[in-house]
């Protein structure tokens, strides 16, 4: 299998790479992609049925986000990778091993939602034990914060790296530049894998007319970091590109800018209707065609897989509907860690 990139990096081409991915891995990837996709479909349905107030998520990005999650050096603390994600990262969470039912809980804002206890919108993940720092809604702020975890990792001589991800339109915020500047300081470079998932849209605003750069990845060049733009609709391309980028960041302890062209299969969010769009590539469909052609999985197997997950999540959504809502009085919980802490008083 050979990897297609829309552009080769200036620092050592991410070109043809003949290391093929083991079939088991491909099948696992596929399974995660199916789960992630079905999860998003379930969340959209929940929204439509009044079991959630807002939907935003990542259908169309699974071919990148799933391999990303699979390749993360997962764990808690600076020995492991930190993930500064945004609201389209369910594929990554599924690949990390998150229970999709927890996403339904956040959608239904139940007290049992492990990410925010019913406080935040769906797809706003936070998993302390896997270093998934809280996803917050303001676009691009994660790019200003991620250098902090990276500096800590580098100082500790850790194998862990910092991964930050956001959209294309958001790169217009100064925080994206902050990330480039801070991570590339000569002599103080920090191990950040800087990912931009480019679906060529802000909410309704097309890429055209908003960008002077041909590619977002070009913006890394001035800072001397390796940059590449890849086709994120192909999970194998993604897997290799992520691996290569991660290896560089882990070994060199320096930043790497990876731009990923992806689809936005249900529009921006429920605010724009969340309907399936037919004019963009569907990475899952394409990948399934490949798997079938290679004889790795039959259409029937895949249909059954999908039906099974769909049924499971449908049932789960009914159970979640019955789970308790947070109490109003809990708004005062967790304003401060160690609520009554006063230095010198213990």
């Amino acid at each position: 299998m050979s990897m297609t990139t829309t552009e080769a990096t200036t620092h050592g081409a991410v070109g043809a790479d003949d290391t093929s991915i083991a079939p088991e891995l491909l099948l696992q990837m596929h399974a995660h992609m199916v789960t992630a996709r079905v999860l998003e479909e379930r969340l959209i349905t929940m929204y439509r049925q009044g079991d959630g107030y807002f939907w935003i998520g990542g259908p169309g990005e699974e071919a990148f986000n799933v391999p990303l999650g699979m390749l993360v050096h997962k764990g808690e603390g600076i020995a492991y990778d930190y993930l500064h994600l945004h609201y389209r990262s369910s594929g990554t969470l599924v690949a990390l091993g998150a229970d999709p039912v927890d996403s339904l809980r956040q959608m239904k804002n139940t007290a049992t939602d492990p990410y925010s206890g019913g406080r935040n919108f769906g797809s706003h993940y936070s998993v302390k034990r896997w270093n998934v720092v809280p996803v917050s809604s303001p676009i691009e702020v994660q790019y200003s914060m991620c250098t902090g975890t990276a500096i800590a990792q580098k100082r500790a001589g850790s194998k862990g790296i910092t991964i930050v991800q956001g959209g294309d339109a958001g790169t217009a915020e100064g925080d994206f530049a902050t990330c480039l500047v801070w991570s590339s300081r000569k002599g103080h470079e920090s191990p950040v894998l800087i990912i931009v998932t480019n679906n060529r849209y802000g909410i309704s605003t097309p890429w055209e007319g908003q960008h002077g750069e041909e590619r977002v990845s070009d913006r890394g060049k001035a800072f001397g970091m390796p940059t590449v733009t890849i086709d994120g609709n192909d999970p194998e391309t993604s897997y290799h590109a992520i691996k290569k980028a991660m290896d560089y960041v882990r070994t060199e302890k320096k930043p790497y800018l990876l731009e990923v062209m992806v689809s936005r299969l249900h529009g921006h969010s429920s605010a724009s209707g969340a309907n399936f769009v037919t004019n963009e590539r569907d990475c899952l469909k394409d990948f399934e065609a490949k798997l079938e052609a290679r004889g790795l999985r039959t259409r029937k197997e895949m249909d059954e897989m999908r039906a099974k997950v769909t049924q499971e999540l449908l049932e789960a959504s009914k159970r979640v509907r019955e789970e308790p809502q947070p109490e109003g009085s809990t708004i005062y919980d967790h304003i401060f860690a160690d609520k009554n802490y006063v230095a010198g008083e213990r």
């Binding site: 107030y53 807002f54 804002n109 139940t110 007290a111 925010s116 019913g118 406080r119 935040n120 919108f121 917050s136 809604s137 303001p138 676009i139 691009e140 339109a169 958001g170 217009a172 915020e173 100064g174 802000g202 909410i203 309704s204 605003t205 007319g209 908003q210 605010a271 809502q325 947070p326 109490e327 109003g328 009085s329 809990t330 708004i331 005062y332 304003i335």
Partner: protein, 353 residues
């Protein structure tokens, strides 16, 4: 019966048509969407900016310095907090240059809770905005004020912050709030000025002929005269205050309801007269309750009208918590509820010194 959002759009049309507005811009403000709330559909001078709030405010300042009349938008006030330094510059440029350069810009930003917006679509901005000198700050509570305050904001030679309550966007005018010139019929208006679903490239709005009707900045609206207690509010909570007053009327409690409309400059005369009459006052807003604009009003009331007061003035504001949670219980526990208004107003009204 225009909705608030239609009223804003009509006002912006008047602005670009005959009051000199040159640019209406922000994230998703131009075609095809015309604003996250449809507020800028069909406007000739509307354009999409990059996703960069600092660039939006900065560019608006630059346009204003160049003698243009920009109306910019921050999509949700939740996302304005990386621009406070620039807002301060917009507010201090005239002063710093000792009167040379004024900055005639308008900044629209949707505020407040009530759309189940969770942590980042429920913020208020009145405490922060009123703390920035050099700005005028307005907040409409109904379509007519939305229209008239926008026209006033546009012609004002100073920076004006236009806080637009998100939860009111689809609120329709009551009969007395009709904008002169709009067709009385909802469907007729919608057909004229709401962009159609689907392809909009050929669509043009057909604007009703609405007048230059200015709701003056700095003048409150005493929506209801009352005798026993005054409630001062603005934006979304004004109708809640009216309903609270309706409930209390049944109990024989007469509540004076003041819609501030302008937070800065605010209408001290209206407040003063009312406190002198009712001697009891409740200030209500949604922003969090520590270092809150309502506390300014109370401080001034206490300072200047202490001996008029028959009861301690009260504030009903947002809980001092880091966000408004998504679950209904959380939102309700975080922002002022009508039931709380009723209780407080009742307590105040029966309070004797």
């Amino acid at each position: 019966m225009a909705t608030v959002v239609q009223a804003v759009r009509m006002a912006l049309h008047v602005g670009e048509d005959r009051l000199g507005v040159t640019d209406i811009f922000g994230e998703d403000i131009g075609p095809p969407l015309g604003g996250a709330f449809t507020q800028t559909q069909g406007l000739r001078t509307a354009w999409n900016s990059p996703l960069d709030e600092r660039g939006i405010i900065g560019t608006a300042i630059g346009l204003a310095l160049a003698g243009q009349k920009p109306v910019c938008e921050i999509q949700f006030c939740d996302y304005i907090f990386n621009t406070i330094d620039l807002l301060k510059i917009a507010g201090n440029t005239l002063w710093s240059s000792n009167g040379q350069w004024n900055v005639p810009m308008v900044c629209i930003t949707p505020v407040g809770s009530g759309i189940r917006g969770s942590i980042y679509h429920s913020h208020s901005f009145d405490a922060t905005a009123t703390h920035i000198p050099g700005w005028k700050v307005v907040m409409p509570s109904n379509p007519l004020d939305a229209y008239g305050l926008m026209l006033s904001a546009i012609v004002d030679p100073n920076p004006v912050m236009y806080l637009l309550p998100k939860a009111l966007m689809r609120t329709r005018a009551l009969p007395e709030e009709l904008i002169p010139g709009e067709p009385g019929d909802d469907k007729a208006l919608s057909k004229m000025i709401d962009a159609p679903l689907g392809d909009r490239t050929q669509w043009r709005a057909e604007w009703p002929d609405t007048p230059n009707l200015f709701v003056p900045i700095g003048k409150a609206n005493v929506l209801r005269q009352g005798e026993h207690v005054t409630v001062i509010s603005c934006g979304r909570l004004v109708r809640e205050a009216m309903r609270a007053s309706d409930e209390l009327r049944a109990e024989g409690v007469s509540v004076e309801v003041i819609d501030l409309r302008s937070l800065y400059p605010y209408d001290w005369d209206a407040i003063k007269s009312s406190v002198r009459k009712t001697h009891r006052v409740l200030v209500v807003n949604e922003d969090t309750e520590i270092t809150n604009f309502g506390e300014h009003l109370i401080r001034r009331i206490v300072e200047e009208l202490f001996y008029e007061l028959y009861a301690p003035p009260r504030l009903l504001a947002g809980a001092f918590v880091p966000g408004i949670g998504l679950a209904d219980n959380l939102e309700h526990a975080s922002v002022p509820q009508r039931s709380q208004m009723v209780t407080l107003l009742r307590e105040l009204a029966s309070h004797e010194p």
